[in-house]
């Protein structure tokens, strides 16, 4: 078959498909008939947020005439059949809300009878505080408590919470309607798949990068260019750790940076904590500047529709200010320890040099190219509405295809426990959203801040910074997102998404306050202890709390300058 015939055949196929689509009886244009009348309207909650999934029924006496559900924006459209209505009324109800019944007026009835569309005034549904409300709130609090105390693995705690919520909904519903929280489909709708796939893609990418020896090489390179001068080595190590954390996850960065840092410190005879504590704090601070730098930013970016550039442009100056503050603070508190450094012995130096070699140069080169491509897609992808999760998946797949590693090993490298944690956590947080607890909290904060953007910024930044010290920042951020979303929609001037940036700073930099404030802190402490240098809760608090106030204050000042 020559090229011209192929082209004709292809054109004919495309023409047939187009004709089939145009004349299809299921096409949207065919659904609306000119002689039918509609009842249109909107449903909101007390915080003026749209209520989706509410059941809207048109009744004539006890007879159901028409039914519809509200959409995500709270809108509904009831198609009215050609029937004579006598005493029509509109009933609007949804789980966890009081049902509202509205009698149609004579004028509205006449309009419907003459085939016209009736637009109903927006309706407000009041929340119903049922047993399901208290069950969801208690389960959420217990999950938070288990995660905070570490008595149960994070994933198991969230999994138990999600199972209990669904179990009670399904098994309790036949006993009492009050026990119904949500069904499986609704619970799954709360899972943010953009977050899940973004984390998964980045994990695959990191699994390849971490074996190349790049972290060890960078640390040794820092040692070499500092020529053993600790006040030069300290900022370089902090910067390397911070920049790596902005593109990879903090835990992996610290898992790889801590052992080599311990070795550098031991070789020059200083306490490794004088380098490790500033490093992990820098990792928590600089990670804030990008969408993929912290798990909390991934959550915030996806919920608040903030792009990679959005974080970079709005937070980088504040992060730089916070980093400079942290650097000065670290140099001051560790100046005595750092001054004890002496030149490394030949045997230790040669071992350090051996450790500081790139182990897989070919893989590193390929990962570098793919990483650069991903960065470009993150930066420019927003122009074509490219989701970050798609970029991460494309990047990870391209790297796997190029390097062709053992695919089973790579899949095993994905931390499924973390992904299950996120999925089940979304369900647990979704439950308190579904029953209205989040709306109530949002209402309280909304009443407190009123119309003041400054007050809202102070409340979100410092509340999240202080709470992130004692409760895990991932569940906290997940729960705060709808609250911040509500405040962004209601507080004048907050539509710039500034409150999401406040949450980002507070939740991530707040992790510097305590040992349990960030997973990277715990990993660093674990490795340091394995080297004989214990980081106690009290030690971290003494060093971390001032760092928290310095870094959060400086970043907050930047947000005030930019957004007020």
């Amino acid at each position: 078959m020559n090229k011209t015939r192929k082209r004709y055949l292809l054109s004919a196929i495309l023409l047939c498909i187009s004709l089939a689509l145009v004349f299809s009886p299921t096409g949207s244009a065919a659904e609306i008939k000119s002689n039918e009348s509609y009842i249109l309207g909107y449903v909101y909650d007390l915080q003026e947020q749209p209520v989706s999934g509410a059941e809207v029924n048109l009744l004539d006496g006890d007879t159901l005439i028409a039914a519809a559900h509200t959409q995500a924006d709270g809108r509904y459209a009831l198609e009215i059949p050609d029937t004579k209505l006598v005493t029509p009324s509109l009933s609007i109800g949804r789980s966890h809300f009081e049902t509202v019944t509205l009698e149609l007026s004579d004028t509205q009835l006449k309009q419907l009878s003459s085939g016209n569309t009736v637009v109903i005034e927006p309706l407000t549904l009041l929340r119903q505080i049922s047993i399901a409300f208290w069950i969801s709130a208690i389960i959420f609090a217990v999950v938070l408590f288990l995660i905070a105390t570490g008595t149960t693995h994070n994933t198991l705690a969230a999994l138990m919470g999600a199972s209990l919520l669904l179990g009670i909904s399904y098994l309790g519903h036949p006993i009492s309607d009050e026990l119904f929280i949500f069904d499986f489909d609704v619970s799954i709708s709360y899972v943010d798949w953009n977050v899940i796939f973004l984390i998964m893609g980045m994990m695959m990418f990191i699994a390849i990068v971490e074996h190349t020896g790049i972290f060890q090489w960078m640390a040794f390179f820092a040692y070499k260019i500092s020529r053993g001068r600790m006040l030069i080595l300290l900022p370089i190590l902090m910067l390397i750790t911070g920049i790596a954390s902005a593109f990879l996850d903090n835990v992996t960065t610290m898992l790889l940076m801590t052992p080599i840092t311990v070795q550098i410190a031991l070789s020059v005879g200083i306490n490794p904590l004088s380098l490790l504590i500033p490093e992990v704090m820098a990792s928590n601070v600089i990670g804030v500047s990008t969408l993929v730098g912290t798990p909390t930013n991934i959550l915030i970016g996806s919920y608040g529709d903030i792009s990679f550039n959005g974080f970079l442009q709005n937070l980088t100056p504040g992060v730089i200010a916070a980093f400079i503050g942290l650097l000065i603070y670290s140099a001051l508190i560790y100046r005595k320890d750092l001054s004890k450094a002496h030149p490394a012995s030949d045997s230790l130096m040669s071992r350090l040099e051996e450790r500081g070699r790139i182990t897989q140069p070919v893989h590193l080169k390929k990962a570098g190219w793919v990483g650069a491509g991903m960065l470009l897609m993150f930066v420019f992808g927003e122009k074509v509405h490219l989701l970050p999760s798609v970029t991460a998946l494309i990047g990870a797949t391209a790297l796997l295809l190029w390097i062709r590693p053992n695919i089973e090993e790579m899949i095993e490298a994905v931390d499924w426990t973390t992904l299950v944690f996120f999925m089940t956590l979304f369900i647990v947080v979704g439950a308190i959203q579904e029953v209205g607890l989040i709306s109530i909290i949002a209402g309280w904060i909304g009443n407190f801040v009123g119309d003041s953007l400054l007050l809202a910024m102070i409340a979100i930044t410092w509340l999240s910074a202080i709470l992130s010290m004692v409760i895990a920042n991932i569940p906290f951020t997940a729960a705060m997102l709808p609250v911040v979303g509500y405040l962004s929609a209601t507080v004048p001037g907050a539509d710039t998404k500034v409150l999401f940036f406040c949450l980002s700073i507070g939740a991530a930099m707040g992790g510097n306050g305590t040992l349990i404030g960030a997973s990277a802190n715990m990993v660093t402490a674990g490795i340091a202890e394995a080297a004989g240098y214990k980081i106690s809760y009290g030690y971290f608090l003494r060093k971390g709390l001032p760092a928290l106030f310095i870094t959060v204050s400086l970043a907050f000042i930047w947000l005030l300058i930019k957004f007020l």
Binding site: S347, R351, M522, I527, A530
Partner: protein
């Protein structure tokens, strides 16, 4: 018949708390003219609440860190005229110490008795005596507990 003497094992955790143990091992090795083996055991218990998929990577990194910690101890021993080797193992601390003592038919096992350890740790006064007895019973090596002020 008395068993041939074959070496001294010194379990090292690293850090200032290990220095009295290392010093004791070096002085004993000098005194009895026996080869000295510094032992570092990789313990991954701290990963319980973090990413489990990173176990192989972190185990590799900790092994290398352990080798380095032992190298600093070996350096110290060499400076004092004692030849020392480093051994890195991964697993249960008690089991690995006993296993190495059996493998080397060690005569002495030097353990540290530092201050301020967690209750769950075996290196606390209450539990270390029990553990010492177990080592002596299982391997025939004599256990020496090193006490002293941790160096800065």
């Amino acid at each position: 018949m008395e068993k041939a003497m074959s070496g001294i094992i010194c379990a090292v955790r690293g850090g200032p708390n290990s220095q009295p143990t290392i010093d004791k091992a070096i002085s004993l090795a000098k005194e009895v003219s026996l080869p000295l083996y510094f032992l570092y055991i990789v313990n991954l218990n701290f990963l319980v609440h973090t990413q489990s998929s990173r176990v192989s990577t972190i185990s590799e990194e900790l092994s290398k860190m352990g080798e380095f910690i032992l190298l600093t101890a070996q350096d110290k021993a060499n400076q004092m005229g004692v030849a020392a080797e480093g051994v890195v193992r991964q697993g249960d601390v008690q089991e690995e110490i006993i296993l190495l003592a059996q493998e080397l038919e060690a005569n002495y096992v030097i353990l540290g008795l530092p201050q301020g350890q967690k209750e769950a740790d075996i290196f606390v006064p209450e539990r270390i005596k029990e553990f010492s007895a177990l080592i002596e019973q299982e391997s025939g090596a004599k256990v020496v507990l090193a006490e002293g002020k941790p160096s800065e």
